[in-house]
């Protein structure tokens, strides 16, 4: 019996590696995507004053620190039993939307999108943002500028763009001044124009060429999890959770009920846990009869929502649904869904800046420590993010439970690897090409992982180790 170990130099909230086990005939018996890193936030947040947590948990992820920051301050709101004043909430949403545009632009152009822009067959050396800058210098410049605009806007609104500090229990700490709004408006419009351009460009020039690939690569049927408002509108900051089963039926539940709907399974070979739908009655990653598996992220959100509350994005959603139905299971379309969300957020920024209430000074209510439990959720770019805190009478943290966006996709990633490996390795035969295909399969399955597992050019450095059943190494394959 042989074992193949693939070790990507990459991160899913840490580093990961892939092990493939062959049976005696040389066919794939089993595969594991293993996360080999653990940082223990759930432990070291205990004993801290709960109001400090929004400033600590940001460091879980530097790509989506705002999501952690907001989920954490929402959990604090709940712990203290307060609701931020309307402007406090709007400032949080403003930052969330700006961060989203930054993040989606990063993804689309720097990571997964590079494949589409440069073509999947382009040489590795140009399949990155620098390649884009050379082939389409205007787009490259725009991308860098829009990223920078995002960072600059966040700086104006909050003072600190990465690992922010201004969303606090009870609201927001920094008011937005009228002069600042005037400075922000042209920037927001520039981002909106770029969002419109991106989706048109992609629909005209990119997606049509790859539709066949889209329909064949890494398609499996799963459920979906996302956040919607009471009337079913897409919302990334607040609402109720919606769990959709593969057949498109869904159930809505409040944040407080999440433990009734989501459970986490532990496998002995990974530091990362495997969340699953509790109501499915169990967890299985078996390809022929999976159990409890659901996905999160852009496609999931686009699938679970009934409509999008901004006009341009809503028009895009209608077109998307007409083409691909609801729920859409085509994994590669995460990218399309991402661009729809980019548009939604860009529109939302402009709306919020036009709102006269945004400059109000009533942004924060004072809070008093008490013994309580509070749950805060937001939609992080990678999926539903859940922060669950318990405090003692002094507001000191007693218990913390976190379910992080990427973690939801742990099981689907594992299944995708298994599926692809089974197709690619037959009778003990494997070669360099297999690596690239595996890499593509993972990426195809959930390109959103790019921010967790990918290098910035969207490729996955993969190391394969082939070992016998005693784990003695026989062979190593590397694609970097």
């Amino acid at each position: 019996m042989k074992k193949i170990v693939i070790q990507p130099v990459s991160r899913i909230e840490g580093h990961a590696k892939i092990t493939i086990q062959l049976d005696d005939a040389g066919n794939v018996q089993d595969t594991w995507v293993q996360v080999i890193e653990l940082r223990g936030f759930e432990k070291f947040c205990i004993g801290k004053p709960v109001e400090e947590l929004p400033r600590i948990v940001t460091s879980i992820c530097g790509v989506c620190p705002w999501s952690h920051h907001l989920a954490s301050s929402k959990a604090c709101d709940a712990v203290f039993g307060v609701q931020p004043p309307p402007t406090g909430k709007k400032l949080r949403e403003l930052c969330n939307s700006i961060a989203y545009t930054e993040e989606h632009i990063l993804h689309f152009y720097f990571l997964a999108g590079a494949d589409f822009v440069m073509g999947p067959d382009a040489d590795y050396s140009v399949r990155n943002v620098i390649g884009i800058a050379q082939k389409h210098p205007d787009i490259g410049k725009k991308v860098i500028r829009c990223r920078w605009l995002g960072a600059e806007m966040l700086d104006i609104v909050s003072g600190k763009a990465i690992h922010p500090v201004t969303s606090v229990p009870g609201g927001f700490s920094k008011p937005l001044r009228k002069e600042e709004v005037e400075k922000l408006k042209p920037m927001a419009n520039e981002v909106l124009e770029f969002a419109k351009f991106s989706i048109d460009f992609a629909k005209k020039n990119l997606f049509p060429q790859y539709l066949d690939a889209v329909k064949s690569i890494g398609v499996i049927n799963t459920g979906f999890l996302g956040t919607v408002k009471d009337d079913g509108a897409l919302d990334l900051y607040d609402g109720k959770l919606r769990m959709m089963t593969p057949d498109g039926k869904y159930e809505d539940f409040t944040y407080e009920q999440y433990t009734d709907y989501i459970a986490e399974h532990i496998e002995p070979w990974s530091y990362l846990k495997f969340p699953y739908m509790k109501k499915a009655g169990g967890f299985s990653m078996d390809l022929s009869s999976p159990k409890g598996i659901y996905r999160t992220n852009t496609l999931a959100r686009i699938n679970v929502c009934d409509y999008i509350p901004t006009p341009l994005a809503q028009a895009e959603l209608e077109e998307f649904r007409k083409n691909f139905g609801r729920p859409c299971q085509l994994t590669l379309l995460y990218n399309w869904a991402r661009l729809i969300e980019l548009l939604y957020n860009a529109e939302k920024i402009v709306q919020l800046l036009d709102d006269p209430e945004i400059t109000s000074l009533d942004i924060r209510v004072p809070v008093k420590p008490r013994e309580a439990r509070g749950i805060g959720c937001v939609e992080a770019p990678r999926g539903t993010l859940i922060h669950d805190y318990e405090t003692d009478a002094n507001g000191i943290v007693k218990n913390v439970n976190l379910i992080v966006g990427t973690t939801h996709n742990n099981a689907p990633i594992n299944m995708s690897v298994k599926k692809s490996a089974k197709e690619l390795i037959k009778n003990g035969k494997y070669d360099q090409g297999m690596l690239n295909r595996l890499e593509m399969a993972i990426r195809a399955y959930d390109p959103c992982l790019s921010c967790a597992t990918h290098k910035l050019d969207g490729t996955l450095p993969v190391k394969v180790e082939i070992v016998d059943k005693n784990f003695n190494k026989i062979d190593t394959l590397i694609n970097y």
């Binding site: 790509v63 532990i266 590397i478």
Partner: protein, 308 residues
Amino acid sequence: MAVRVAEEWFAICAGCEITILDIGEKLLDLLPKLEFVHMPVIMDHKLFGQTGEKDKIEIPEADVGIITGGIRNEENKEVAKEMRAKCKTLIALGSCACFGGIPALANQFPVQDLYEKVYRGSKTTDPAENPNKEIPPLTDRVYALDEVVKVDVYIPGCPTQPELVADALTSLLEGKPFALPERSVCDDCPTQRQKKADISLRRPLENVTDISKDVKESRCFMELGFLCLGPVTKSGCGGSEKTPRCIKGFMPCRGCFGPIRKGANPLVEMINALSSIGLNPNEIIDRPATIQRYIGAHNRLRPLPKKP
């Protein structure tokens, strides 16, 4: 000739890498002068050749090496040593690499406690044994980079300030040394100080000051009773604009840029500073980890004996 740059990341959040991207247009000026020979975050696949059969990490020779993140497992150590061997100048980028950063908060607990909480002490998790099948065990604690190899340049901050990265790279390109001045956050803080507090310490559970006015017109947050690590923290987060980032957001500093000089002891200095303006340091909750939130490596944070 272009300067050869190698970059590696360890147990981190990628915020520091994003900071490099956020240098913005200046980055486009810098790029042609840099040749990235190894940088998992942006590019390059041909490190091992297409049929690299090496098991060991190999990094090509470079003029400048950049490492983000602290050391959390043995593999990190190996990579750090390899980087040191191959790079003429080694930069520790971000507070994780410089002082352990937020992940080093874990140093308050024995590693076993982390496993216990994560795998058996969480309400959504079906309890199970620690994962142990073919995954590398964690090191006993989080180490800063310079506990393992010699570091030439420190660029602290969580994350650091994009301008500093650009400045550091520019100085290195010109062959000049780069070091941040030994100034404190207070030195660049625009608030008004009177050298004494008229109120005792309180938690930031409300607006720290009158937010209708510009922050320049506010009294020093600490003198208003809110713990602020400005006095013991290195300045630089505000970039050319100077005003420290958190202060701009009407929030007190939490020390993400680390100590003002090498060998300083912020814990001791902070307790002195508080006493000197009449505040009682005994009132700070979780004092060691609050004052040393970003600097827990170097044995600064460790499991403490239980108080009777």
